[in-house]
């Protein structure tokens, strides 16, 4: 980390913290009894998780016919949810890998939670390709391994197979990255813990003692993983977009999809980080670590990526018109004016129009607006995937087969349930591990702590000079 900080930067740690304060503040949520808010949230999350399990059993037991997909629309909420969750899973890696490489200090306040969010979002995303299969119990057929069925090799031409590789690679690297970052912090918690907690953290921290060699290896590993993860940020959603881009269906068969999907993924990922952070900093009393400075930075990313997806939407429309190809033209005409016009309106207003409010600095620094915008964007991005998947399929080449689709309660239950799965994981994480990377925050204290820069720094200099004298 560079220790040179531009004087115009705002401090990233407020409240005149010492190293010890940081340890105390961030470890506190794992050490004190759960708050009422946490208990209520956890009960809610587990309830939704139960709904998820019920709907899952119904789906596996009864068949995909318990959903309302049909002969024309083979994918609906299932794959919409999949792409949505994968998209959300992008922020973590982006923050930890790309921002690490770009030496963005503000990432330290949010990277831990964002990475955890990534892991859980990818877990949620991974559910849907498995659930949506007609014969879930044969799902292992998609793994290429020597088998007694021929041996039957998988079809390497299929984007769905590429998905399997992309998602599993992404999940593995993200998990390693996240856990590597956790090790020194878990050791900090271990050092403060007693009894059975101590045992647990002893195992979890892999015997970390904080030796210089440990730190050196840790730094190297972080960098290597960051290097590995960086292309993944771009590749995962690119490959997910291939599911559509390589098909022959007008509205899917589009070369713009890879960059468009990646931008959308970062967009939705940051929105989800915002939703979580705005609540977490309040509930766990971490406002001094996740400052308005952090929130504003993320809102800037949201503004940028929001305009990127907006451009993509408009480009799509333009190219459809410009192509002179009737099916392509109709597919987009239908998206906007067809029976699913409301989902297009939802997508456009939530993803393109709403984020424009962040041109205003006031809005960027408003907790209230940030929170609502993040929810809007998450809804809008869900709509975007729904528009791409269901609307496109509903009216393709042959008018005779045009259809309409709305979900059954089982499909809705699976979506809500996946939120339950996500929040159950996240809430447990928040109780067990430090939600902010202690070591990394300490790292930037001297360069970005409020007592060292800005108006406070004068006082600091005075104190130091006095001591020196």
């Amino acid at each position: 980390m560079s220790s040179i900080v531009s004087p115009i930067r705002r401090p990233l740690i407020e409240g005149n913290k010492t190293y010890h304060d940081i340890t105390e503040d961030i470890c506190a949520p794992t050490e004190r009894a759960p708050s009422l808010a946490w208990i209520i949230a956890f009960i809610l999350a587990v309830t939704f998780l139960a709904i998820y399990l019920v709907c899952l059993v119904i789906t596996v037991w009864g068949g995909i016919g318990t959903w309302d997909l049909n002969r024309t629309i083979g994918w609906g909420w299932d794959i919409t949810n999949f792409v949505w969750w994968v998209g959300i899973g992008h922020a973590g890696t982006l923050i930890s890998a790309i921002l690490l490489l770009f030496r963005q200090k503000w990432r330290t306040g949010v990277n831990r939670a964002a990475e955890a969010m990534t892991i859980f979002a990818v877990i949620c995303a991974g559910q849907f390709p498995l659930i949506h299969m007609g014969r879930q119990w044969m799902g292992f057929f998609i793994f290429p391994y020597p088998n007694s069925r021929g041996p039957l090799w998988v079809n390497f031409n299929s984007p769905l197979l590429w998905d399997v590789f992309a998602i599993s690679t992404y999940f593995t690297v993200s998990l390693l990255f996240w856990y590597t970052g956790l090790v020194p912090d878990l050791a900090t918690v271990r050092d403060r813990a007693k009894g059975i907690r101590k045992k647990f953290y002893e195992v979890a921290s892999f015997g970390w003692t904080g030796k210089a060699k440990h730190w050196q290896r840790w730094e190297s590993l972080s960098l290597i993983l960051a290097g590995l993860a960086t292309p993944l940020v771009l590749s995962v959603h690119t490959i997910v977009s291939f599911d559509f881009a390589t098909s022959v269906i007008p509205g899917w068969h589009t070369t713009i999809f890879p960059p468009y999907f990646v931008a959308g993924a970062i967009f939705s990922g940051f929105a989800m980080v915002q939703s979580l952070m705005v609540i977490a900093r309040k509930v766990f009393d971490l406002q001094e670590y996740i400052t308005l400075e952090h929130i504003e930075s993320m809102n800037k990313v949201i503004l940028l990526t929001g305009m990127l997806v907006g451009t993509a939407y408009l480009t799509e429309l333009f190219i459809a018109w410009y192509s002179g190809y009737i099916y392509e033209q109709y597919a987009f005409f239908n998206r906007v004016f067809g029976p699913y016009w409301w989902s297009y309106v939802g997508m456009m207003s939530c993803n393109v129009l709403a984020p424009l409010i962040f041109w205003s600095k006031k809005a960027r620094r408003s907790i209230f607006i940030t929170f609502f915008m993040s929810i809007f964007i998450n809804i809008g991005m869900w709509f975007e995937r729904f528009v791409i998947i269901a609307t496109t399929l509903a009216r393709d080449y042959l008018p005779s087969s045009w259809s309409y689709y709305s979900p059954t309660w089982v499909e809705i239950g699976l979506f809500l349930g996946s939120l339950g799965l996500f929040f159950t994981c996240f809430l447990i994480f928040a109780r067990v591990a430090p939600v902010i990377a202690i070591a990394e925050v300490k790292h930037i204290l001297k360069s970005s702590g409020d007592q060292y820069i800005d108006k406070n720094s004068k006082h600091y200099v005075e104190v130091v000079e006095k001591e020196l004298a």
Binding site: G134, V154, I326
Partner: protein, 1043 residues
């Protein structure tokens, strides 16, 4: 061991004798008290050591493995033959020629049996009447053999009984003076008529009532008056250059549709070198299957039909027998028709379905004026396919009502349901001494009968038929009776006291029938083998209308009603007799595209808005109240293009109350709204009905097609220009743009006079596509050279001009390929499984459109988009160009279905076939179980896998038939001949619209077909290289008629 040095010691090897110390040590240590595992450590295979942990691991593994292995698909046991029956070779089908007869509905058929089970019906190409063709009803008849609602033994007062008791009861109640009524629909069998005559001799006071729910009584009477023969003329639609049909649905349901379709289409297939085809005008209000195939339609209200006939009669110089006042548009059009008729002279044909004698007399008059008798119709070999007169039924009912009938036998038909007097029949039946029903399966009449003496199913019966004079047809059984039933003929013989010795035989009627044929000098064995014969068998005239009053010779006058309701016969359910056949219930109505029910078709118009205007604002799936006087019914509405404003239409035969599980309460029964005309004949319309606005809505519409048109045009009231209305109305919140539908390369069509320019344009466009498609990453040319051009390369040619949309192929496909029936609720959700569907699009004038039917099945693309997206390679390409589906590999991602541009892939959403891994969810499929019973499963084709839940399926080009054909050729050591392999859809088609063949055989019919200049491929420009070729739709619309 220590004594091994003794001399008499046995030795087992050289080492024993050489006393090698090392060896001795080894032998000594053989039985040491150490665990073998320790002994072996270090110098033996480590895997032989088993520790406690290993043991537990293996134990755990085997328990898991055993429990996983226990999760297997349910095993159904089959029992092999101990003695092989004659004629049955396991795995080899046997075909028997027989005849499908259902009242007057006739088709000569071949029945395919496997291991003694009839599983499929094909057309009998030897038949001079129906030829290779079949109808959907004939195709589906094999399923009704395995109908769960069939009577399994005779019943007395609803209780199980025996034939002995039944015979005793009936004979004891009858004496030579008994007043007996016999009710039947048209009887085609001469031998059965002979038996009836014998019955009548025994009981002289027998009154025979013969009626047809869809009656031709007036036509029969008119023909008797005009030609002296009470029969239907033998029509030759192939000879006619101008065909004028007054509401006669001769391609769908009228008299002999299979025969007429084949004839009709001969003059409709267009040879581009010499473009010529017949001109067909349909005068109707309701869009019928025939009307949808017509070049022009003239819209007249049902009550105007007679007047329209009179108008044309007058225009042709005949004597009209009543009012000639028709609506002005129709009058103008009819003038033009008259001109065309006069020009065509004796090469024209006028038919009418009117049930008023005066109207039919005028039709005869016109045909005579034009000189058609002897060219397009003849009375030398008349058709007997309609013989009934409903007035005989009415008379019998009034006699029953009077309490004067001792016994009534219902041989055929369902008088307690399928006519407007059903209510009267029910009350009258209570006053009859003995009601006997001979129904095969439960129906409303059997329900109120004291005795049910069930007859065999057709496929278990012997019998004969004479559909046309001199054309005989035989029915032979293809399976032993499944239940304790008896031939109707045998029953009648028994009750009429035939000599007891004839019943000593197993099959008394077989002997009787054979004797009757031998006496007529026919070659019995050949006739049974061929299923048909030429000649005649004397049949007694058992039914006569002489006693009935004369019919009026004055035709009816149009009524000035606001709304008239037209009743029609649906192609699948008929008069209601097929209501319990799930294949027919699930076959979409060709015109309306609905399933499982009858729907009121209401007219749609357009007035420049973003949506169509429909009568009372009723939209698809709305409930509305239909009122006639006191009679009030709730019906479901469908908007129907081509329905005349001021009229609505609905099919009869639905709403059965007493029937098997599939048919019960499906649709609405409207027989009680039907009225009789001035002469007491059925009239298939009522005037002055009232239709309410929307009173509710079906959750979803059980229609397989939501968008119905491709280029219906009208004049935009704002701009005064002609626009495509469907393109404007298709989107939801903004008017669509022009060209969005008609510019699609799906349907190619032209009018006859434009054929030459059309072909030129088509070729130009195809050349453009070919240029586009040559720029591809797909190594298509390489595959073509290395694979497709090597052996066979299968393909289909479909002639859109020959396809009349009748749907026989779709039912044939279901039967051949074990396609599951899914029920109404599932079709509503668009979960239908049909591998072959017939898309129907309207085009042209929005108020009076033309129709094109497009059969669509898997196109077996050589660059198949479904194949490369499957992650597990469950669908792949054969070297013969087949797109194959491997069910066992399929994990059901549905990606292939999404990526199919033709949307022909079908997914097993639920466990439709009980082939599932979890048997627990089988009984409850929305409360509907079809085809899942052991009895019903007998119809399954053993050559085709029954698919389980969660896998995709689709048309295989009948790969089992291809394989069979190839094997036969191989066994016989010869090359495969063209036409040897026919797909199931091809064999069912009455018009020969579908041709299967090999692209690599230059001589094949397929190759000849695709070089006819009109050929195109659907969505050719996306370079998926489909193997199905369509021939463009050409119509002969006379635009002068529209002006």
């Amino acid at each position: 061991m220590k004594d091994n040095q003794q001399k008499d010691q046995t030795w087992i090897g050289l080492k024993d004798i050489s006393k090698d110390p090392e060896y001795i040590a080894e032998v000594h240590s053989e039985f040491r008290d150490v665990p073998i595992s320790k002994l072996l450590v270090g110098h033996q295979n480590e895997s032989l050591t088993t520790s406690r942990r290993d043991f537990l691991k293996i134990l755990g593994f085997s328990v898991t493995a055993a429990s996983i292995a226990a999760c297997d698909a349910p095993v159904r046991r089959a029992i092999p033959y101990v003695h092989r029956p004659e004629e049955i070779v396991p795995g080899v089908p046997t075909y028997y020629a027989s005849t499908y007869v259902d009242g007057g509905d006739y088709c000569s058929i071949l029945v395919k049996t496997r291991e003694g089970r009839p599983i499929k019906i094909e057309g009998n190409s030897m038949s001079p009447i129906t030829g290779q063709g079949t109808s959907a009803r004939a195709q589906a008849h094999v399923l009704s053999l395995y109908d769960l609602s069939r009577f399994r033994q005779p019943l007395i007062d609803g209780a199980k009984s025996s034939w002995q008791e039944v015979d005793q009861l009936i004979v004891s109640k009858l004496n030579s003076g008994s007043k007996i009524g016999i009710i039947s629909r048209t009887i085609l069998s001469p031998t059965f008529k002979k038996i009836l005559a014998e019955f009548k001799t025994k009981y002289p006071n027998t009154q025979i009532a013969m009626y047809d729910p869809f009656s031709a009584a007036a036509q029969l009477a008119a023909n008797e008056k005009s030609y002296g023969i009470r029969a239907i003329p033998n029509y030759h639609f192939d000879q006619a250059e101008v065909i004028v049909s007054f509401n006669a649905d001769f391609l769908g349901t009228w008299i002999s549709p299979v025969e007429y379709s084949a004839d009709y289409i001969k003059n409709r297939k267009v040879d581009p070198k010499n473009p010529k085809m017949s001109w067909h005008v349909q005068i109707e209000n309701n869009m019928s299957l025939t009307g949808s195939n017509a070049d022009n339609r003239i819209l007249v209200k049902p009550s105007e039909q007679d007047a329209a006939i009179a108008y044309l009669c007058n225009a042709l110089g005949g004597t009209p027998l009543g009012s000639t006042s028709v609506n002005p548009e129709a009058a103008k059009a009819l003038d033009r028709v008259a001109t065309k008729l006069k020009a065509a002279g004796s090469k024209s044909l006028i038919v009418s379905a009117s049930n008023n004698m005066a109207a039919q007399l005028m039709v005869n008059q016109m045909n005579d004026i034009l000189g058609n008798l002897g060219t397009t119709l003849d009375m030398n070999t008349p058709s007997y396919q309609k013989q009934g007169d409903e007035r005989s039924l009415k008379k019998l009912i009034s006699d029953m009502e009077a309490g004067s009938m001792d016994a009534v036998f219902v041989l055929d038909g369902n008088p307690a349901f399928d006519n407007p007097w059903a209510g009267a029949f029910k009350t009258a039946a209570e006053k009859v001494g003995l009601m006997v029903s001979l129904a095969t399966a439960s129906d409303e009449t059997a329900e109120l009968s004291q005795v049910v003496a069930p007859k065999h199913h057709l496929l278990e019966s012997w019998g004969d038929a004479e559909p046309k004079k001199g054309f005989l047809s035989l029915i032979q059984p293809t399976i032993s009776p499944l239940f304790d039933t008896r031939q109707a003929e045998t029953s009648l013989l028994k009750w009429s006291g035939a000599a007891p010795e004839i019943f000593e035989d197993d099959q008394p009627y077989y002997n009787y029938l054979k004797q009757n044929w031998l006496q007529a000098g026919l070659d019995w064995d050949t006739s049974v083998h061929d299923g048909i014969a030429q000649g005649s068998i004397p049949s007694a005239e058992v039914f006569s209308t002489k006693a009935l009053p004369d019919l009026s010779t004055q035709s009816s006058t149009p009524l000035n009603a606001d709304l008239e309701l037209q009743f029609y016969e649906s192609i699948n359910i008929g008069s209601g007799q097929h209501a319990n056949n799930p294949w027919l219930q699930e076959m979409p109505d060709p015109v309306m595209r609905t399933v499982w029910g009858n729907y009121l078709s209401v007219p749609v118009t357009w007035s420049g808005g973003m949506d169509y205007d429909s009568f009372n604002d009723l939209k698809d799936g709305d409930f509305a109240e239909l009122t006639l006087g006191e009679n009030n019914k709730t019906v479901t509405v469908m908007n129907q293009f081509g329905q005349m404003p001021g009229t609505v239409g609905i099919a009869l035969g639905y709403g059965r109350r007493s029937v098997g599980a599939a048919g019960i309460n499906i649709g609405t029964n409207l027989y009680d709204m039907m009225t009789e005309g001035q002469d007491g004949l059925f009239q298939y319309f009522v005037a002055d009905v009232k239709l309410s606005g929307k009173v509710g809505k079906e959750k979803d519409i059980p229609a397989v097609q939501y968008h119905h048109s491709m280029g219906v045009t009208d004049i935009d009231p704002k701009t005064g220009k002609k626009v495509n209305v469907d393109e404007i109305t298709a989107p939801s919140i903004k008017k669509g743009y022009q060209g969005s539908l008609v510019d699609r390369s799906i349907i190619r069509r032209a009018n006859l006079e434009d054929v030459e320019t059309f072909i030129e344009e088509l070729h130009e466009e195809r050349a453009k596509f070919e240029k586009l498609n040559s720029k591809t990453l797909y190594p298509y040319e390489e595959y073509k050279e290395n694979y497709y051009e090597q052996g066979h390369h299968w393909g289909l040619a479909i002639d859109l001009n020959a396809c009349i949309g009748c749907g026989a192929c779709t039912v044939s496909c279901m039967a051949e390929n074990n396609v599951p029936v899914v029920g109404k609720r599932e079709v509503e959700r668009h979960h239908e499984m049909a591998w072959l569907r017939i898309d129907r699009y309207f085009y042209g004038d929005v108020n009076n459109p033309n129709t094109v039917y497009q059969p669509l099945m898997c196109q077996h693309c050589d660059n198949a988009p479904c194949e490369n997206v499957c992650p597990v390679a469950a669908t792949n390409h054969s070297s013969e160009g087949l797109n194959q589906m491997t069910y066992n590999r399929c994990i059901g991602t549905r990606y292939c279905a999404n990526n199919c541009p033709y949307k022909v892939r079908r997914f097993n959403w639920l466990d439709y076939t009980t082939a599932d891994l979890f048997p627990i969810n089988q009984p409850k499929l929305n409360g509907e179980i079809f085809g899942n019973d052991d009895l019903t499963r007998m119809v399954l084709n053993p050559d085709v896998t029954v698919r389980s839940r969660g896998v995709i399926e689709k048309c295989s080009f009948c790969v089992q038939r291809i394989q069979d054909g190839k094997l036969t050729a191989k066994k016989e050591g010869r090359a495969l001949k063209d036409g040897e392999i026919k797909s199931a859809c091809q064999t069912a088609c009455p018009t020969g619209a579908i041709v299967f063949g090999d692209f690599n055989n230059e001589e094949s019919e397929l190759v000849k077909n695709i070089h006819n200049g009109l050929t195109y491929q659907v969505l050719e420009e996306i370079n998926v290289r489909p193997s199905v070729n369509y021939s463009a739709k050409i119509i002969n619309r006379d635009h002068k008629l529209d002006a």
